[in-house]
């Protein structure tokens, strides 16, 4: 690879909590090594230095919620060879997509004294609804080791090796007893994509779905299980309407119960 320049990395933010990009700074043991292999060309949370595009890899955090951001993502796409979305906001619209099920104008009036100063879109939408996305990394927040795997894969011209099966598989692998079967605790694990290492059940709580829907989720079967352990309709709706409420399978399932 003699003479090849280090790939240029850019990190972009839309509507979000900053947590997913912080994951990169939380790679305390790996950060200096990562910086040896990529050129951090645009990353305002970490540096004042700005290099102009185009960029080899753009990491995009956050969802599209304003007319200005809907324009900005198109410019970023044009400057980026690979565009990777990081986290639930960027891949499904995030917690702020709860507005998509309500009247956003009413929310503006609840929070702000001068609604006329606020410019916002009716829906909070994932990046892929606006531009082509090369890879979507799940999680609220992302798993930092998965983030490094994605960067590593790109640097080595291979597909990222990340599972699309459910959290249940991770529980079985770690030998965690099923919280739903053994304790009657409602758990989103059977329909949620793996990646966190089945964290919640290992702390004796039900999964709350922060990695979004698995590849082919049977949400109706899960709803039936939840009903059997006494979960009421309103709480079924709430269960599917958390950090990935606007991901198709979760949205549809929540609407089934909302209108039932």
């Amino acid at each position: 690879m003699r003479g090849v320049k280090k790939p240029k990395l850019a990190v972009w933010k839309f509507a979000s909590c900053d947590g997913c990009q912080l994951s990169l700074l939380d790679c305390e043991d790996e950060l200096l090594t990562v910086a040896e292999h990529v050129d951090i060309a645009y990353f305002p949370e970490a540096t004042r230095a700005v290099q102009k595009g185009p960029y080899d890899v753009s990491l995009v955090e956050g969802s599209i919620t304003t007319p200005h951001d809907a324009e900005r993502i198109n410019k970023i796409r044009r400057m980026s060879r690979y565009l990777i979305t990081i986290g639930a906001c960027a891949t499904s619209g995030g917690i702020q997509a709860l507005r998509n099920f309500a009247d956003v104008n009413q929310y503006i009036r609840i929070v702000y004294a001068h609604p006329e100063y606020i410019e916002t879109l009716r829906n909070s939408t994932p990046i892929a609804m606006h531009v082509y996305v090369d890879f979507e990394l799940r999680g609220c927040p992302v798993n930092k080791y998965q983030l490094i795997e994605v960067l590593n894969a790109l640097l080595n011209n291979r597909r990222p090796n990340l599972p699309t099966y459910s959290v249940c598989i991770e529980c079985k692998r770690r030998g965690t007893a099923c919280v739903m079967v053994s304790e009657g605790v409602p758990c989103m694990g059977p329909v949620t994509q793996a990646g966190c290492g089945a964290l919640c059940p290992s702390y004796r709580r039900g999964c709350y779905g922060c990695f979004g829907p698995m590849e082919v989720p049977n949400t109706a079967a899960l709803s039936a299980c939840w009903s059997n352990i006494g979960v009421q309709k309103d709480d079924l709706v709430r269960g599917f309407r958390m950090f990935n409420a606007y991901a198709d399978p979760f949205r549809k399932e929540s609407e089934v119960h909302e209108h039932a």
């Binding site: 839309f14 950060l31 702000y112 606020i118």
Partner: protein
Amino acid sequence: MSTRKSRTLKVDYLARVEGEGALFIRLKDDNVTEVQLRIFEPPRFFEGFLRGRRWTEAPDITARICGICPIAYLASSISAMESIVGAEVPHPIRELRRLIYCGEWIESHILHLAMLHAPDFLGYQDALAMAKDHPDIVKGALRLKKIGNDIMVLLGGREIHPINLRVGGFYSVPTKDELQKLRPDLEWGLEASQQVARWAATLDYPDFERDYEFVALRHPKEYPLWEGRLVSNKGLDIPLSEFYDHVVEEHVARSTSLHSSMRQRGTYHVGPLARYALNYEHLTPGCQALARECGLGPTCNNPFKSLLVRAIETVYAYEEALRIVNTYEMPDRPYVPLEPRAGRGYGCSEAPRGICYHTYAIDDQGVILDARIAPPTAQNQRCMEEDLAALVPQFAHLKDDDLTWRCEQAVRNYDPCISCSCHFLKLEVQREYSH
């Protein structure tokens, strides 16, 4: 000096802060005529969609306001909900709550002071550039930060958006032996953080002080983290329930974050300087001695020295974490089971960047009827603007680039978390000279 009549300085997006915002400064004959922090972080409407959610969901949902200080949101919402039902948690749970908050302080303070703020003092664009000349400082900071995160992982499950905190306590608690595993790293960290404070004392701080109204929590026995009364150095001393009787929030066109001020008195300041000035007597004798060695008195009015105060607080967090690890006894059960009742509750905790205030009303089924949240950076917005208005004339002799950088550094004094406050930064300085 300058023969130019007008100058315009611009930075499109202020870096090394969390979130999106801009700064606009207009100068006429080196006098500041206008300073505006513009926050363009997209609004996310947490207070809107919290309505209709369960009271037990508020902690995990509000944590998503900020990935940098999720414990602050978890803590304040949990406290608010527990205050509605009058819950008291057992001593070991209270201790574990302080311990995980120490983890967040360590992680956030070290990230900010060593990697985001220190480069301004040493003239680097970022910590990676600084690491080439000061590898020991940056590597040491990374390890100190990691230990803070290790506390979060052990007690919370993960560094960002921990999953193990709940209304009433924790989902599961560590054994004594599991907690003891933190001890060697905490002992190393205590020593190393003291060295960081001594190093921070050698930085070149601008000569700049202001007479602030400091607002922080105060607790009768301890340096505040999770609880206390709200006090100030100008006479405020109130229970949490009276916050909105004294604080006014104003919505201005330039910001999606509400501006806070104190009725009758105006702008106030939250964060490390406020906590330190109002709670100095509750720092350990070791921290007080170290503060004196670093040239700090019991009050510090120089916002640039917030970096040094953060270092002292980091030492405190290491001492407190060690104390808890050494005295912990596992509780009988990880949480207190609680049933909802209709009412309003109040919660406030000391996020690394200042008080994070929550109030909720719920019905008898535990459904949230109303939510109001005052994040620390929103409360500091006016203070940042006033600092800049006072600072710019003092440094107006600087070249445009240097003045711009000085202004950015002054904003970073507050470790602003704009994602949080939106409820911030493009920097623009316009200079005009009359004939």
